[in-house]
């Protein structure tokens, strides 16, 4: 006999998914399923086997980008004692081949350019203001344009309007102007030195299949700035710790979490979601189904096009996914010579744009953009660009190429790296899809582009988490509030419910 729940959440990722579960009323009986993860992500992650575990989540950055709203809302400190650092203390470090690495703060930038150093505080102020506006926009449940909307949505939009107004006329206009700009144009309004411009602009392409000369990377730069709380991640504990905290909060509310329970389909009758069917045939019934799997996966694979309106299917098919990130995790003997924290390989804007150019033609960047996070013996490399759809070859073969390119590129700055490597593991865009269920390996569940944000995310007319299937809601990165794992969409969907 099938088990029945008030709420069932499929694809309970560490931030959007778990956060929404944590927000659910305690009187309801609810269940979260982690569908595709075989790793115990909310504990210590064992990338290299039981005896060689290192302290990294597999696909997320070292520190979480979980929104700070939730620490307050969910009293997460009481569950784990996690703390939030202030934005101004986050730095990323662009590296240089001569070893004269830079830290992105005004003091350090002064070594390169007095002018850039002088502009840096104003840039940070402006970006923080933009991030604040965007944060409010993400927390605003979007109306289902072009349909009419009511008072509820109207109030949210009024709040957003107020936030824009409070930003002051100049910042408001500059914010609106910055969204469609290229990251290059945005940083060039403030800085002159190439290394500073490129290091900051790289944040605008981090996780996206875009080059810094692409329209809309001004927006993605603000988005990543907001999610990280600055250039590097806000230190709110490691991703696994947050997930553990959320898991504790869920359990404390009477929720149940099951892992390694792959969902084969969402059961739909007369356009009403009734439950899910697991890969092992088990049926779980629920009054509400909440999916933080990406929209393409949710609708085209789990629901199936036959139960959905044709234009909705067409729009869903048209969501631009385009994953192009690979991860290379290195276990070293500790002599790699790479400083602790986050550094980027982004020597110039042109370098980044050329790295992106390769992916347009289905090629792996020979000179990739890297963001490297180092903690003790462990070195984790975020590699762009490695397109999901390769023009030639397959990811089974090209995996080694990406690993070699990442290591060779990083070794140009840290010559001891190669000899220090004990073990390595890579995650290709293909792995992101096959292991983690991310369509086309897109970490954001859909590219963040100007035609895929606000009321157009995931698709026009369906930005408020509802779907054409009654009782089925979206709550992942693919809806408004995403991408990334800030948890905003998870928080928003509870308000819709």
């Amino acid at each position: 006999m099938a088990t029945h729940y008030d709420n069932y959440h499929h694809g309970a990722g560490h931030s959007n998914g778990f956060l929404l579960l944590a927000y659910l009323p305690t009187k309801q009986k609810f269940l979260g399923l982690r569908t595709r993860f075989h790793h115990r992500q909310f504990r210590k992650i064992q990338i290299f086997g039981d005896n060689d575990s290192i302290d990294f989540p597999t696909i997320c950055e070292r520190d979480s980008s979980c929104s700070r709203h939730y620490f307050k809302d969910l009293k997460l400190r009481t569950h784990t004692g996690l703390t939030v650092d202030s934005c101004s203390e986050n730095h990323s470090s662009p590296v240089q081949t001569d070893g004269n690495h830079l830290t992105l703060d005004a003091e350090s930038i002064k070594r390169i350019s007095e002018k850039d150093a002088a502009c840096f505080p104003e840039f940070v102020r402006f970006m923080n203001k933009c991030a604040s506006i965007l944060d409010t926009a993400y927390a605003t449940i979007m109306p289902r344009l072009p349909m009419n909307f009511g008072i509820k949505e109207g109030f949210g939009l009024m709040e957003l309007g107020l936030e824009l107004k409070l930003a002051g006329r100049k910042d408001m206009l500059n914010f609106i102007r910055a969204l469609p700009m290229t990251a290059q144009e945005l940083v060039e309004e403030y800085f002159e030195s190439e290394i500073v411009k490129a290091a900051i602009a790289s944040l605008g392409i981090h996780g996206f299949t875009l080059g810094p000369m692409g329209a809309g990377t001004g927006y993605t730069l603000i988005h990543n700035w907001m999610n990280r709380g600055g250039l590097a991640h806000v230190n709110v504990g490691k991703a696994g710790e947050i997930t553990q905290a959320l898991a504790n909060a869920i359990k404390a509310s009477g929720g149940e979490i099951r892992t390694e329970a792959e969902v084969a389909s969402i059961k739909v009758e007369s356009q009403i979601a009734k439950g899910v069917v697991l890969a092992n045939g088990e049926e779980i019934l629920a009054n509400q189904i909440l999916s933080s799997a990406d929209p393409k996966h949710t609708f085209l694979k789990l629901v199936g096009a036959q139960d959905l309106p044709p234009e909705f299917v067409w729009h869903t098919q048209s969501i631009k996914m385009r994953g192009s990130v690979a991860k290379i995790h290195l276990q070293t003997n500790g002599s790699h010579g790479i400083p602790e924290g986050t550094l980027v390989v982004a020597p110039s804007i042109k370098y980044l744009e050329k790295a992106y150019d390769a992916t347009k033609y289905g090629e792996i960047s020979e000179k990739p953009y890297l963001e490297v996070t180092t903690s003790g013996n462990a070195v984790s490399i975020h590699f762009q660009f490695a397109p999901y759809n390769l023009k030639l070859g397959t990811w089974n073969v090209e995996r080694e190429k990406v690993e070699k390119l990442a290591i060779d590129t990083l070794a140009e700055y840290f010559p001891n790296l190669k000899s220090s490597i004990v073990n390595r593991k890579s995650i290709t865009p293909q792995d992101l899809e096959s292991i983690y269920g991310l369509t086309e390996g897109d970490l954001n569940h859909g590219q963040l582009m100007l035609d895929q944000f606000l009321f157009m995310r995931p698709i026009p007319g369906w930005s408020n988490h509802k779907t054409p299937i009654d009782n089925l809601y979206l709550c992942g990165s693919g809806v408004h509030g995403g991408g990334g794992v800030s948890g905003v969409s998870g928080r928003n969907v509870v308000r819709v419910l």
Partner: protein, 400 residues
């Protein structure tokens, strides 16, 4: 160089030789004959009294084939396609998600997993959009398959003379494969005139052979090539509407009020709300069924004496149009406009000026007295009319 010329049908060699007034009309990218003579009377009466041969090749035609062919049409259209038997034909409309009509046509189940769908306008994209995840192929065969509409009370006799197998047992809205002078054809008992009639489907290469065979065999039965203008008069008598004349496709309506639901067009009988599973527009149609329709397409019969009185005021007898009028004519109750007529025509058979009209609730009730706009000596007048049930004309032999 891009060829912007209209196409001609495979019957053009014959039809062009017969088209005395050079009255050509555009239909879905083709030239077709509007009328073969200067006046429509003989062509119209052939439909009602003998045998009318009409070139309907420009109808859009799609072959839908594969394991999920029935499932696709079941999803796209409002009919319960899974219930259709091989050899059955079903008239249907299809809607967008808001339950507004996109187009209408017939579904023919040629084999268990092979269907032919006809449409007034191109629908390949819409069909393809609906076929996501289905094992089905959709092929447009408009330019490959020639079609003749053979309408009138003598058509069965003529077909029996030329067909390998008699058509006597072919029931209304059924089809059969047959041979005409050795040429393979599909014959469906369908049409657009409301009379006894058939539609004959064949490869383009065989078109002239079939035309010649029918013309020869039909000579003793009053066979007459008929253009689409006479057919237009007959279809109004039969209460049959036309896309882009009597309704606007939801796919290219500019505003909401231009769209129509199948209920509003009187197609209640084609909307199988009891069929299982999702179909496009289901929820909106269920809602409309519960709440009632704001509009209905009905028949209007204009009062002859009333019209006579209006013309009398300027010293004229009533003037009647020589063919169907595809113009929107306001329909009034008192001084309030309650709807509009989309096609009006003189019915030579009924001796009545009739119209297909779209009226708002509650004025669409049968028996309601309204007034329809007519033009009398360059002045707008309103002739008294009554709301009547459709069709205006349905001979007993239509379905026998």
């Amino acid at each position: 160089m891009l060829n912007l010329n209209l196409k001609t049908t495979p019957f053009h060699e014959r039809t062009s030789a017969l088209c005395q007034p050079q009255n050509w009309r555009k239909w879905a990218g083709y030239f077709v004959v509007g009328s073969y003579e200067h006046v429509l009377d003989r062509e119209y009466w052939a439909i009602r009294n003998s045998a009318a041969l009409i070139d309907v090749t420009p109808l859009m035609k799609y072959i839908i084939k594969g394991k999920d062919a029935a499932a696709l049409l079941h999803r796209v259209t409002t009919r319960n396609v899974h219930k259709m038997k091989v050899g059955q034909v079903a008239y249907t409309g299809w809607c967008d998600e808001e339950g507004k009509m996109i187009d209408d046509g017939t579904i023919s189940r040629l084999e268990e997993s092979t269907f032919r769908l006809t449409a007034a306008e191109p629908n390949l994209r819409w069909l393809t959009m609906n076929a996501v995840g289905m094992d089905v192929s959709i092929t447009e065969v408009t330019d490959d398959v020639a079609a003749l509409s053979f309408q009138g009370p003598n058509t069965r006799k003529v077909l029996n003379l030329v067909c390998e197998k008699p058509v006597d047992e072919l029931k209304y809205f059924r089809l059969m494969t047959n041979k005409i002078h050795g040429v393979e054809v599909t014959i469906s008992r369908t049409g657009y005139t409301g009379d006894l009639g058939y539609e004959i489907w064949m490869d383009n290469k065989d078109a002239l052979k079939v035309w010649d065979a029918l013309m020869e065999a039909g000579s003793d039965y009053g066979i007459t090539p008929v253009g689409i203008l006479a057919m237009d008069m007959a279809r109004v008598e039969a209460g049959l509407f036309m896309l882009d004349v009597d309704y606007t496709s939801a796919s290219h309506a500019w505003i909401e009020s231009q769209k129509s639901s199948p209920f509003e067009l009187g197609l209640d009988w084609t909307v199988a709300l009891d069929k299982p599973g999702y179909f496009v527009g289901r929820r909106a149609l269920e809602k409309e069924k519960r709440e009632g329709s704001a509009w209905k397409m009905v028949g209007l019969a204009v009062d002859w004496v009333g019209m006579e009185n209006i013309f009398k005021q300027v010293g004229l007898p009533p003037q009647i149009p020589g063919s169907a009028v595809r113009a929107s004519l306001p329909v009034m109750v008192g001084n309030v406009q309650v709807g509009y007529a989309s096609t009006s025509t003189w019915s030579p058979l009924l001796k009545t000026y009739i119209a297909l009209a779209h009226l708002q609730k509650p004025y669409y009730e049968i028996g309601t007295d309204v007034r329809m706009e007519i033009t009398v000596e360059h002045h707008r007048q309103h002739a008294p009319a009554k709301v009547v049930k459709l069709p205006f004309y349905e001979p007993e032999w239509k379905k026998k």
